[in-house]
Symmetry: C2
Subunit: 338 residues, 2 copies
DNA sequence: CGCTGGCACTCGCAAGGGAAGAGTGCCAGG
DNA sequence: CCTGGCACTCTTCCCTTGCGAGTGCCAGCG
């Protein structure tokens, strides 16, 4: 177990390193923080912290930098979440309120997060599977061609083209539309399959094929998980990564292009609160020198999607966590209103 | 006027520099290209080319590199567009054919372009203003709340919420929907305002306010030009920019985040064919060391949107132009089919 | 008149060699 | 258990030197 002072030393190291981006030595530490002890004592503490794996030195004659384990301890025990100031809150609210549609909400959120944290922001569109159905619309485009439009309570719209096995009359279409909506409107996506399974029985034999086709397209749309879209922004902030950054930035950019990777990344957040994954805790190897701060957001009490930022492990954790949490909260409000 | 041989020297310099990324000297040139003259002669030609501003030398004792003006001459006079090979064409087609919806088409196009050119790809969504209306749908969400869904022939879907001044019955809504569609379906967006201007007259007095509101929302959606969305990808290719790239890459990333800038960039393409803007020809100053290769694409004969790539001025122009042109062509086909 | 080989010159770049400085670990004393 | 002192280890920076690539110019040749 580490003594209280050693924890303070670790905290000081993290703070200084985050600020200066340079390995921090014992002398500088005692000068900048009033620890009440001499550099020599700090050196002993540092040696102990290094033995435990919380810090490391890049070269023999350099100062110490925190390891992933060190950051982890810092985040878990030593740092709180820095709340946003009043003006910041108001700015967030103002900025988000101007949004005209879901795309716009997401776009604004990304920009906002990127600006606040000065890092790369990732925002997932409200997930289909956790939303409820607001309305299903069917449009006849040709005798045997129907367009299916699905509208969710979060304002998201999905559309699919359906090629019917047989021509489908306007009357039947209207009938299907009405029956479908009366069953699924307002229901959760996960409940929809059960709710519609006996629907074809209500139709004439000749229409059943088409009804079945339409329904299966609907179900496909509902479960289609690769339809989990997201938006990223603030990639220009990657240039603040560090000195050796050509090597670092490349895999990060590549990872950011892989939606699958990103979704998994955000998806790992399980806590109701802000989740932080540091360095090697990220499964994807291109992101081994980055940390991901993420949180769920949603219109009601429950999270329908995630958002977060990706930055260097050397980041201002309290500030970033504060910003992420605040933005998620306000986005949730905006979604609830619309 | 430059002699034929000097033009060949310029072409050789561009080709070599693009290949090696290093300033090219007179000796290397004569070795790699059979110009039929000695290095000394080439030196004279180089001096002349430098006087004319087509090439420059980074340091006194280095080889020459092409200037923007040099690239311009190369693109205009010295290089053709390299057509895609058969297998490449087939790969493009296969890759694009799997798309399920417009978003997917655009996403695939971006990935494809980025991979083919190994550069940053930018694809604009088919513009609203140049498309035609496939269908307008109206959904009653609450007594005085209507959702307007607009579907275009390119498969794009836009939706807006409309708060009505007065409650609006289902019957009136159905009436409006029918009248609206019979007038505008299949028509070009630009014609819509004229087509609907007398529509409120057909309704009862009490509904006119609502009809007017719905219509004006529709018109807003049609003209809303900042709704010009686009998708970018392949940013990881930025790391191949060059050695001094931390300085170069930053402004480029920043420019790429500004949709406005990008749209303007693509928009500048006026030619029916592939447009190339080299270095300082780009208005935006962050893109002074990049070239933009863009072209319009569309489902029919007419272009409804643009796509292109952004890369270092030192790029393989013939290959890039070929890829951009081919992709645009196939995307157009895909859009026409859907 | 244009091309060619030769030659002197310029300069950037890489390698080598100190010198300086930062930071550490350890030890003896309070 | 903390502190000041001290020897030691590296990295970093700077300066010098040598090399090589590439140029520009010139005299000669077809």
């Amino acid at each position: 177990m580490l003594s209280e002072r050693r924890l303070q030393v670790l905290r000081a190291i993290v703070q200084d390193y985050v600020g200066t981006e340079e390995p921090v030595g014992s002398k500088a530490l005692t000068e900048r923080h009033s620890l009440g002890v001499s550099p020599a004592t700090v050196r002993n503490d540092m040696a102990a912290l290094e033995d435990e794996g919380y810090i490391a030195q890049p070269h023999t004659s350099a100062g110490r930098i925190p390891t992933d384990k060190g950051y982890r301890l810092f985040v878990d025990k030593l740092a709180g979440v820095k709340p946003m100031t009043g003006p910041e809150r108001r700015a967030i609210q103002n900025f988000l309120e101007g949004a005209v549609d879901l795309d716009d909400v997401v776009a604004r959120t990304v920009r906002l997060l990127a600006q606040l944290t000065r890092q790369v922001a990732v925002v997932q569109y409200p997930s289909l599977t956790r939303s409820t159905v607001r309305h299903v619309e069917l449009l006849s485009l040709a005798p045997a061609r129907v367009m299916l439009v699905l509208i969710t309570d979060t304002g998201r719209v999905e559309q699919r083209m359906v090629d019917c096995p047989a021509p489908f009359g306007e009357a039947s279409l209207a009938d299907l539309r009405a029956r479908l909506n009366s069953r699924v409107a307002g229901r959760r996506f996960t409940d929809v399959p059960k709710l519609v399974e006996d629907l074809p029985d209500a139709f004439e034999h000749e229409d059943r094929g088409t009804v079945t086709t339409v329904l299966s397209t609907l179900l496909e749309t509902l479960v289609e998980e690769n339809e989990e879209r997201l938006m990223i922004g603030g990639t220009a902030n990657l240039t603040r990564f560090g000195h050796d950054f050509p090597l670092t930035i490349r895999p990060v950019l590549e990872a950011l292009e892989e939606q699958v990777v990103l979704l998994k990344l955000l998806g790992e957040a399980k806590d109701p609160g802000v989740t932080v994954r540091i360095g090697h805790e990220n499964a994807h190897e291109g992101l081994n020198s980055t940390s991901v701060v993420s949180v769920g957001y949603g219109s009601g009490g429950e999270a329908v999607a995630k958002l977060g930022v990706v930055g260097p492990t050397r980041m201002d954790y309290p500030g970033t966590m504060g910003a992420v949490r605040a933005v998620a909260r306000y986005v949730g409000q905006i979604l609830a209103e619309s």
